[in-house]
Symmetry: C2
Subunit: 210 residues, 2 copies
């Protein structure tokens, strides 16, 4: 597709020069932005929206943090009863404190009282991680769902986030992040569905979704 028959060597040369000029301008912009961004601090990331990739992104950050020799913590709200590939994987590592809320999706249990108790236990674990300066990254997976059903108190969460160790990073996932959490966050990504294999009759596949 890039083979334009009219293109000769000299136009290749000028193409290369245009490329170089464009890249020089781009590098200047990037370098300036990097020079401006000179603070180190723990960041609060929120990954929300209906699209696929929220939890897997948080788990990718876990892998990154482990690559840097960090201690990390994970609390899986809601998704507890699933035996996911990442749980099997990350449990191998002593640097990972892994807590799964035991009761699965809310529409599976259909029992609010049981969900509330399971969420309270998960929140206790999260609070512990958010108070521990040894833990460099805390993933609170599907917490937004627990907030939506008011299984976890939003104000209590915001206070725990404000008071956490200064260099601790926190990643919160789940669709429907509340506005107050978005306001408190440093980085927020909204993941939008463009298309989804599930709708075409392909079931969730091991390795990419389970």
């Amino acid at each position: 597709m890039s083979d334009d028959p009219s293109r000769n060597e000299s136009s290749d040369d000028s193409r290369d020069q245009r490329h170089k000029a464009r890249m020089e301008r781009k590098k200047a912009v990037v370098d300036q932005a990097i020079a401006r961004a000179d603070r180190d601090q723990g960041v609060l990331l929120v990954l929300t929206g209906n699209g696929k990739g929220k939890s897997s992104s948080a788990f990718g950050m876990l892998a990154r943090a482990l690559g840097h020799g960090m201690q990390v913590g994970v609390v899986q709200f809601i998704k507890g009863s699933f035996s996911t590939g990442e749980e099997a994987f990350f449990r191998r590592f002593p640097e990972v404190r892994y807590h799964v809320m035991g009761e699965g999706f809310t529409w599976e249990t259909q029992d609010r009282e049981r969900d509330v108790q399971a969420a309270a236990a998960a929140w206790d674990k999260a609070r512990e991680l958010l108070a521990d300066p040894e833990v460099s990254l805390v993933v609170l997976d599907e917490l937004n769902i627990a907030l939506k059903y008011q299984y976890v108190d939003l104000d209590e969460l915001l206070a725990a986030l404000r008071n956490r160790p200064a260099m601790q990073h926190v990643v919160v996932t789940g669709r429907g992040a509340p506005q107050a959490l978005i306001d408190a966050a440093d980085t927020v990504t909204e993941m939008q569905v463009v298309k989804h294999a599930f709708k075409d009759g392909i079931r969730a596949q091991k390795g990419v979704e389970l």
Copy 2:
């Protein structure tokens, strides 16, 4: 909730009952969708958009796949010169075939000819992985950027994707996915920036971005 006649009652019991009824309806919908989605096949996922989380999501899927004991392959286009946490991490595993294109971001090198050669070597590695039925998941990280600069030929990519092993999953990341790739994909997520810490002067942090 407006369809629930018991909503004027304020006891916990009625709240729990409403919850149960709502969750029963939700479970029925979810169960139907699951029953309809009964095919197993390799899926092509595209993670695009300007928001944070595309590459980390792909790396989370790698962790998932490793949790299932799968063989996986990674080719990092463009980002090669960065020594990222995930590279340090995933190189520990013999199940991971990891290939990094050696030349870093295009605006760092500013040399189109060198980029083209590095991309060609990376594409050779990708083509090898896409032809190997032993490899269950292939991550082509930042390939969309290489496509945009025409370092990799789109038609050649689409042919390699069509002809890959039937059960092989492929994840392509990078902003600006071309429409033909989106058309070919099973699942596409567009990651949108709601806010980004970098703009507030916080530099990229180890564990979450590096």
